[in-house]
Symmetry: none
């Protein structure tokens, strides 16, 4: 169940993401995935037990990938706003670059594929982010609001920005990014 040609898994994943973005989770078939990835239907079943496992594994991978990159260049010792900015920018960039993944995860959340445990376990990877915000609160730089709500607030702002960029094929200029960061920051700063 773990053959050497690991690259095929990535091709299957890429095809799946692309197709879900275009047709939604309800609009894809294993055959479509195989065709798009460039091989026969049966080949998919060499690398995955079944369709559900393919979806679940991709779901997990997407979350892991996000986690890894969110904290790129993040220095816990840096001043709060600097650190916040670093992660914020990472989140924005990754969400744009991996828009398919974002859509895929959204579609999976309400689907028979993803179990409650899978959903729950996906939160742990954001611990450093939560810790940073807690620090911001203790340094009285941001509002004394339950950290979890601040996370939701930031997530919401970024997510909707990205969707708008993607759906309307808008260019993401530095100027615009700065403006949006300011809005986001002004909302939470003390």
């Amino acid at each position: 169940m773990k053959p050497k040609d690991e690259s095929k898994i990535d091709e299957i994943f890429a095809a799946t993401l692309e197709l879900v973005k275009e047709h939604g989770l309800s609009g894809i078939t294993v055959n479509m995935i195989a065709k798009k990835a460039g091989f026969a239907t049966g080949t998919v079943y060499i690398y995955f037990e079944n369709k559900e496992q393919l979806i679940v594994k991709l779901f997990e991978k997407c979350f892991y990938a996000y986690a890894k990159d969110y904290f790129q260049g993040f220095d816990a010792a840096a001043p709060f706003k600097v650190a916040f900015h670093t992660i914020w920018m990472n989140m924005l960039r990754i969400s744009v670059e991996h828009f398919s993944e974002l859509i895929f995860i959204e579609q999976c959340f309400h689907s028979p594929f993803i179990s409650d445990e899978t959903r729950a376990s996906s939160k742990e990877i954001l611990v450093p982010w939560r810790n940073l915000l807690d620090r911001g609160k203790s340094e009285r730089l941001i509002k004394q609001v339950d950290t979890i709500w601040i996370m939701a607030y930031v997530r919401g702002v970024i997510r909707e920005m990205v969707k708008f960029i993607k759906y309307n094929h808008v260019e993401m200029t530095p100027e615009f990014v700065n403006t949006m960061f300011d809005m986001c920051w002004d909302g939470i700063k003390d």
Copy 2:
């Protein structure tokens, strides 16, 4: 003679929303919908030509319903922040009360059911909201940012709040609502 009972349409819609929230668009069948609504499969086909039409019609209805209620109690002559608050509160309340619709619309966006035209036409109903924000900008009460971005910002904040409330079964206290409104307002105020 038994007349066509148009109220059945609403029961079918309600059942569909509930099921999509629980299983996603990819996890529902016409049979499930009929069962949940309390009648036979064939009955659904008396009121809708096929599954696609059922989804599309529900999609349109959801958008229309939202539009109507967003502007409940809205007085265009009121001071900007008062008007903004009215609509903001409506948006929050409606999104919570009609969470199923919110999820349904989200799932539909990437699905074979909704055409690009349908997606596009859904924007017009928000014109009064856009006008209000334009006024806020001209009164120098909110930032000189493209209105469309402010709309995305507000939508993102509210949407993520509601999701969090719903997924974590959190109570929505007035205190919490005020805090979130302040964050949202602070983000855009000039």
Copy 3:
């Protein structure tokens, strides 16, 4: 099961014949029949127990109607060729006038609706025709061939003529009828 409004039965029959001619036995539904006849689906079930009975009863009626008219103006005492001509002309005229019935019967022959008994019992009504041909044989006016084959021969000639007339929208001139009668007669005459 035998209500007074007998005329509705005829309207149902007429609608069925017309529809079978156009769409074949496999292409019709009870709803289509009711619509074409001008009333509601349920009404059909007041006059017939079910679809099968409707078909069977119509099948029987068609055969009976044929029988009755085949022998119109037939005088058993007339010279053989005169009597033969009378019936032959009746057969031709009826087949043209009731082309829908002809097609209906043809379609029914290979269908789950008509039982072997129904098929078999339909032969009895042609006894006078058979007797006439037997007489023609004993008078040495027609060939000494098994009567049943002569019947098949005549039936085949007429049937194919009628089909051709109908499918190609050809006018049936007296001249043409005479020619075809001569061909038919020359084939069997001694």
Copy 4:
């Protein structure tokens, strides 16, 4: 790799013909066809897009098959009556051997499956037969009747003979065949 087994098409065709002969076009399902042919329902859809296409393709094949064999052993240089006899015998033999096809075509003629174009295009294959009859007319061996009517006459005689043979499980003796040929010939000879 298992290559597409085109011979399955013939098995599907054979099963369909057999079933239509027994139950009529209105009495068959794709499932019945698959079962009779010996494989799963889905297999039919590897070789045909849908039920309609299966019927249409079979219809076309039947017509082509007929055409090919009608002219077996036919020598255009032979004396007229010899050539006529050759084709007549072929027609009889083929109609008996391929009785299922004959019934299938008859049922298709009035069905939602066969388009007018398909019906029309099926006539061209009989051109050599028409030419032969024209020659017979110019040689004054057969009656000066529109060739198309002679074709209908011959077709009718043969068709009804074959039906009778099949429906009554009668043996087709050479003696009987000769008798019928004589009747057919006497009908058209000058």
